[in-house]
């Protein structure tokens, strides 16, 4: 069964420092991987995806994520955090073997606090 784990409920980072939000996945085949962000009182916003190709994918708002097949991880990163990055971040996965329109599976979410 497909699953996603976000081991940290909350991550605190000082403004200007690099940030990492961790995600590991479990699928039977090759994965489609996603990061979404939810700002307060807003819906989920798509940040970036990994489908195939370069292991480092770049997304919105300066975020990037590194796909690591051997460690089954897809950590979200940003070189320099902003206070406005404070939000709830969700990692998600879909098994590449199934229909590309199929549902996606979400992690529990990690709350990111950027301290001024």
């Amino acid at each position: 069964a497909q699953s996603v784990a976000q081991p940290e409920d909350q991550v605190n980072v000082a403004e200007g420092n690099p940030l990492t939000v961790k995600c590991t996945y479990s699928v039977s085949g090759n994965p489609y991987l996603f990061w979404y962000v939810q700002y307060p009182n807003r819906g989920l916003q798509f940040l970036l995806k990994y489908i195939t190709g370069d292991n480092l994918v770049k997304g919105s708002y300066g975020f990037e994520a590194e796909f690591n097949k051997s460690q089954t991880s897809f950590h979200l990163k940003k070189p320099s955090a902003l206070v406005s990055d404070s939000a709830l971040y969700f990692c998600a996965v879909r098994d590449k073997r199934v229909n590309r329109d199929d549902k996606i599976i979400f992690g529990k979410g990690t709350r990111l606090h950027i301290l001024p």
């Binding site: 489609y32 996603f34 979404y36 009182n41 807003r42 819906g43 989920l44 916003q45 798509f46 995806k49 489908i51 969700f90 879909r94 590309r100 329109d101 199929d102 549902k103 996606i104 599976i105 979400f106 992690g107 529990k108 979410g109």
Partner: protein
């Protein structure tokens, strides 16, 4: 281009009452999905429409939940009768057929008292 919209944004109802949630997907998106997040838990898939047809409804919790997408445009999700455990945020998402990412609406926060 307008994004996915959902109505209402909040709904507070008593146990046993009926509530209908509405989702308007992005124009031209054949795929429409409903998800739910119960407090502090994962966002869970409920069901998937392709146009007006139910492609996958494996996530629907029980027969108190009824989803429709007449004409393949907007969708409604009815909960009848509502129970306390139905409280949570209901998200709708849509995607263009064959496109990997799904675009989400702001959600409807349902509170059953």
């Amino acid at each position: 281009e307008a994004g996915v919209t959902q109505f209402p944004s909040h709904s507070v109802i008593e146990k046993g009452q009926t509530v209908t949630l509405r989702c308007d997907p992005i124009s031209g998106h054949d795929n429409l999905y409903w998800y739910r997040r119960v407090m502090g838990k994962e966002i869970k898939f409920l069901l998937h429409f392709v146009k007006e047809s139910k492609q996958d409804e494996s996530g629907m919790p029980n027969n108190r939940f009824l989803a429709e997408r007449t004409g393949g445009t907007y969708s409604t999700l009815k909960v009848q009768p509502a129970e306390l455990e139905d409280s949570g945020v209901y998200f709708c998402a849509s995607s263009f057929r064959g496109l990997y990412e799904q675009y989400f609406g702001p959600g409807t926060r349902l509170t059953v008292t």
